[in-house]
Amino acid sequence: MSEKTAQLSFQPAAPPDQGGTVVFAGEWCLDAGKNGIRDALAGVRDLTNGPLVCAGDAIQDWDTTLVAMIVRLKRLCAGKNMAFEPGSLPGGVVRLADLAMAVPERDGAGRKHEKKSPLTRLGEAVLAAGAGGKDMVTFLGELTVSFGRLVAGRAQMQWGDVVRVIEETGPRAFPIVGLIAGLMGIILAFVGAVQLRVFGAEIYVADLVAIGIVREMGAIMTGIVMAGRTGASYAARIGSMQVNEEIDAFTTMGISPVDFLVLPRTIGLVLMMPLLVIYANVIGMLGGMFIGVFMLDISPVLYLQQTRSALGLNHLAVGLVMSVIFGVLVAFFGCLRGLRCGRSAESVGEGVTSAVVSGIVSIVIATALVTVAADILGF
């Protein structure tokens, strides 16, 4: 470490009860070792009468460490109603100390950390959940009204934004959606093959993959990928606009942020989701065929034939209906969490996390509902 030292010593005045002198010496710097400070301060504390005089002739170098010590001594003196005489301390440092003490602590500025009972916290959590639910319904209402304005041709939306959203959520999502869907097809076929082989029914791998992918998995996997990719991006973009007060600027200009930001993102994503799902279906079935042909030695023509006979329009319809619903959900939560985000970098992070989590959870719930509904309706 450094060899700098800061020294402080206290000498009581010759006649007792007539104050004393604190002597500063050495280098009063952040990186200096401290010597004798505790004893000197104890000496000052024992004083009953002022004045306290400072001697600073032996100070070689200083920074705000010295200012902090002077403030401390002055506070001590003030607490005992003793006079403080800066003596031979450097003038600028004393002025800085005065400056630091000039503005009194603002009343009520200090924080009280109150402890809450578990019951209070539970109650607050329930209230927060209720408020969150109300907020969601409000936002759904705003989005619906905004969509109504769009139908009436009065929405403040630029179609150019929709085109940009389409590019961002469509073509640019192809690689990741394709990769996931292809692997999904391969996994389904592989797992199915191992089981079906026991019964010599390998050919039904084609049915399994076709129905599994087209009816459910294609849409679900695409939905989850889009929640992580697009939902997060919506929340982050709108959230940082919130931090920059851009959303406030829209509002005070009389432009509805929902019209201008949420509507194009929702429309773009809802338009793209069915197309992405069809693409994912194709890639997924190709993945299944890969296993069928190379692992199970089924001829490609036979595999395709089997797939065609297994696949009905009803399966495709269920998958596409889900894809539209997922598009709405991902855009809804992405934009909602962005718009309701606070004003700090941290809250943007929380908003993005929450957008992805609520997106995925809502996708799973929606899948369950649609699956049951399709079963009841006989699709």
């Binding site: 470490m1 710097c29 952040l30 990186d31 200083w62 920074d63 705000t64 460490t65 200012v67 902090a68 403030v71 401390r72 450097p90 003038g91 600028g92 440092v93 002025r95 800085l96 400056l99 630091a100 003490m101 503005v103 009194p104 602590e105 603002r106 500025a109 200090g110 924080r111 606070g342 004003r343 700090s344 970098a345 941290e346």
Partner: protein
């Protein structure tokens, strides 16, 4: 290079890719200077500041800190140089996930071996110096923009840097607070010998506190004047500099008279 040179800029060219902002800028900041970087909007003032604090690498030319080429030394030495500088960003740039006290304490905790009590005391002192005594436990989101700025200054002063850089210090402050900030800058320089570098176009503080300056011009893309602002105001004959220092009133006398005579 003069003996007491603190920061020397030599033939600096600043560019973003192929787009040159300023070329061949040279000047010297002396120890204890209050050095003003001035010029119209978009002339590259803030970019120059980014070069001085080591956020951006020069496209050509050098920046010397105590006679050492900032980009010619290894990373450790550069880290040492950077630790001897403090920067106040335009909006304060406080870390939003930390309280004010934690914001100021972080550099102290990282770079000194001080015990926690001493750190707390220094943090309280620095917040008190900028008039924020008692706001230790507040988060940046809970205080006003001007307070955030002052807290940013407290953080910049945390390690008692040799040089303090200010990017538009008075922007967003009320006149009284701006004046108090100017006073604090002067006091810091006087009592602690801090060199101060300020980017500003606030005329009042510019002329009253600046001891030296450089004037960047957006059109010719280089520095067109140097010297103490008050001296520039008296002696410069360059219309671009005069226009700036007189709020565009230089050479507009006739137009003003016509305005007055209008019913």
């Amino acid at each position: 290079m003069p003996q007491d040179a603190h920061i020397t800029v030599s033939h600096l060219t600043m560019a973003y890719g192929d787009f040159v902002i300023q070329r061949d800028v040279s000047f010297t900041i002396r120890r204890g200077d209050i050095f003003i970087i001035m010029g119209g909007s978009g002339c590259g003032k803030s970019t120059l500041l980014r070069h001085l604090v080591g956020l951006k690498r020069p496209a050509a030319g050098q920046v010397f800190f105590h006679g050492e080429d900032f980009w010619g030394v290894d990373d450790d030495q550069r880290g040492d140089m950077i630790r001897r500088m403090g920067v106040l960003y335009q909006g304060g740039a406080l870390w939003t996930s930390l309280t004010l006290a934690e914001n100021v304490a972080l550099p102290l905790r990282e770079y000194t071996q001080l015990p926690a009590d001493d750190i707390r005391e220094l943090v309280a002192l620095k917040l008190a110096l900028v008039g924020l005594a008692g706001f230790e436990d507040f988060y940046p989101a809970e205080i006003s923009g001007g307070m955030r700025k002052r807290a940013g200054l407290a953080r910049a002063m945390a390690l008692d840097p040799e040089v303090l850089f200010f990017d538009e210090p008075s922007a967003g402050l009320d006149p009284v607070s701006a004046r108090r900030l100017d006073d604090l800058i002067l006091e810091l320089r006087e009592s602690l010998g801090t060199t101060v570098v300020v980017v500003t176009h606030e005329l009042a503080s510019l002329v009253s506190i600046g001891t030296n300056s450089v004037f960047l011009d957006a059109e010719s893309k280089t520095a067109i004047a140097e010297g103490a602002p008050s001296q520039l105001l008296e002696e410069s004959r360059d219309p671009r500099v005069m226009d700036f220092l007189t709020r565009g009133e230089f050479g507009n006398e006739t137009r003003k008279k016509q305005d007055v005579s209008r019913p």
